[in-house]
């Protein structure tokens, strides 16, 4: 398998506050990779750095043969990375369909809008009925579907997902992880950030464990599940 995304010794932070220290990580084509860790471990910062919302202080970010370190967000999207941000961040006063339209802003995606939208509605039939409804009026689970659908509109080579289960009821969390499995099955490469370690390790191939901005452990999902440290600190066994 070829390496799609490769981070080498990436550091980043806000003002005088450093959030990531020399993080190295890779995602191969077709893989689903998890990044887990406690609140404040630097998971969201990591995704923000990859998608160009926050420029790295140092380190390399290579994606599909292109260097993306320091590129603005709109260029990263054009390169083929879509980001489902933390808390979904839909445009609340646009309709579901308009949100999807914004997801397909890139010229190539814009041309294929009708076809892609039909595919997203097929993936999430619930949204079809709500296409003219304002996104801000949807339930949390439905909003997550729109957020994912919006990101999929560009047919990204890599999908970044930031805490898709945060703030949702347990039953809905189950649904969200089912969604992740679906997207996986569709053949997308996914980098998934989650606090919910137990459930993440059930859906990913490999995972990285972040602690205070550093990669503490890395390995296959099975290996991490059996790691005594992970079991004790994160799985509560």
């Amino acid at each position: 398998m070829t390496i799609l995304l490769n981070l080498e010794r990436v550091s980043a932070g806000y003002g005088s506050f450093a959030a990531l220290f020399n993080v190295s990580l890779d995602v191969k084509n077709g893989e689903t990779v998890g990044v887990v860790g406690a609140n404040g471990a630097g998971k969201t910062t990591l995704l923000r750095v990859i998608s160009g919302l926050l420029p790295p202080r140092s380190g390399r970010i290579d994606f599909d043969g292109e260097s993306l370190a320091g590129a603005p967000a709109y260029r990263v999207v054009a390169a083929g990375i879509a980001h489902v941000p933390e808390n979904r961040r839909l445009f609340p006063r646009l309709t579901v369909e308009e949100n999807l339209r914004m997801g397909a802003y890139l010229p190539a995606a814009r041309k294929a809008f009708a076809e892609r939208a039909a595919w997203v509605y097929e993936l999430f039939p619930q949204l079809q009925a709500r296409r003219r409804q304002l996104a801000g009026t949807l339930s949390g689970g439905e909003q997550q579907m729109v957020a994912i659908g919006r990101a999929l509109m560009t047919k990204p080579k890599l999908l970044l997902m930031d805490e898709p289960s945060a703030g949702l009821a347990p039953l809905v969390v189950e649904q969200v992880f089912a969604l992740v499995r679906r997207i996986r099955a569709e053949g997308f490469t996914v980098l998934l950030v989650e606090q919910n370690v137990r459930q993440v390790l059930d859906v990913v191939d490999r995972a990285y464990l972040l602690e205070t901005g550093r990669v503490k452990l890395a390995g296959t999902a099975t290996a991490l599940k059996q790691n005594p440290f992970v079991q004790q600190s994160y799985l509560g066994l």
Partner: protein
């Protein structure tokens, strides 16, 4: 602060000399000096609020009240400006508090605060115009002249008026010092940073904001009164409204609103610049001077938001301040 006292002396001595010099110069320079002193007071007053992110675009309102109230009282009832000016200041403060109290309560800040104060300036301007029977409307008015009189505060002798203006300017600096020294600055700075946090840290946000608003509006009214008494001519556009309000903001920013002497330097800079451009272009090109002035203002705000003083501080401080150390990585 090693050597702080020495540098202060080095700064204050020439300043005192500069302030005293006009007494020995010609009428022309005294005229400039009076204007600089009066506007320094007004700009200092504005900066008292402006530095804490209470960006008022309505100080023309207080200037207008300060200018018109004493003159109206003098012309119509023969009330001496020595009584009229304090009354005008009180009225300006009242006006400021009427708007300041609810806007502080409602946390009207930023754009909204700027635009509410802009409307206040417009109200005073329009009221002056609307009362054209007594104010002369947009044509302006003159105080009844009685020749040289301290009672009427009509001092055709420029040196005498300069002395008065100098005292008023010093009053502005004293107010600045009071704010600088006391708790009020710490309180207001924390409000400017984060109002809610300041509140939960026990700062009486409302009280502090109102205090500074009162001092600022009162001093601005004083400046307006002195300006009217000096020019012996009042017009709504020169004393109130958006134009003059913006002029106040710009001069204060150009000088530097975070330093006690910044607004004074702003006054000297803008008045000398306007005068210089006027001499340079003559009266043939009405507007040429102001066009350059406007362009300069834009440049100032883009490149020197802390003003002339801020720039000077940066240049002076550069060799002494070591480069900021990179954030140390905590040990594993």
């Amino acid at each position: 602060m090693r050597g702080g006292r020495d540098t202060r002396l080095l700064l204050y001595l020439p300043l005192a000399a500069a302030a005293a010099a006009p007494f020995f110069l010609s009428d022309y320079f005294q005229h400039m000096a009076v204007q600089i002193a009066i506007w320094s007071l007004v700009y200092t007053a504005w900066a008292l609020m402006g530095r804490f992110r209470l960006t008022s675009l309505g100080h023309g309102a207080f200037l207008g009240v300060g200018a018109y109230v004493p003159t109206l009282l003098w012309n119509n009832y023969g009330v001496t400006p020595w009584l009229g000016i304090p009354l005008a200041m009180a009225l300006a403060i009242a006006l400021a508090l009427i708007v300041g109290y609810p806007s502080s309560r409602q946390k009207v800040v930023g754009h909204y605060f700027a635009l509410v104060t802009l409307a206040l300036g417009q109200v005073v301007l329009l009221v002056i115009v609307a009362m054209r029977d007594v104010t002369g409307g947009s044509l302006g008015m003159t105080p009844h002249t009685v020749g040289h009189s301290w009672y009427a505060l009509q001092l055709p002798n420029k040196a005498e008026f300069y002395a008065v203006a100098l005292v008023a300017w010093l009053a502005g600096l004293v107010a600045w010092r009071y704010v600088e020294r006391g708790m009020i600055r710490l309180a207001l700075e924390s409000i400017a940073e984060d109002e809610d946090a300041a509140e939960s840290a026990g700062v009486d946000v409302l009280r502090e904001k109102l205090k500074i608003t009162a001092v600022s509006s009162g001093l601005t009214a004083l400046g307006g009164a002195l300006y009217a008494q000096y020019l012996m001519y009042l017009s709504p556009d020169a004393m109130s409204g958006v134009g003059i309000s913006l002029q106040i903001v710009f001069a204060a920013i150009a000088g530097g609103m975070y330093n006690m002497l910044g607004p004074t330097i702003g006054a000297a800079f803008t008045i000398l610049l306007t005068e210089g451009l006027r001499v340079l272009f003559g009266t043939h090109f009405v507007g040429a001077a102001n066009t350059i002035y406007g362009a300069l203002l834009v440049i100032f705000i883009i490149f020197m938001p802390r003003g002339i003083v801020g720039l000077a501080e940066r240049i002076l401080a550069r060799p002494r301040v070591p480069p900021a150390p990179a954030a140390p990585e905590p040990a594993e």
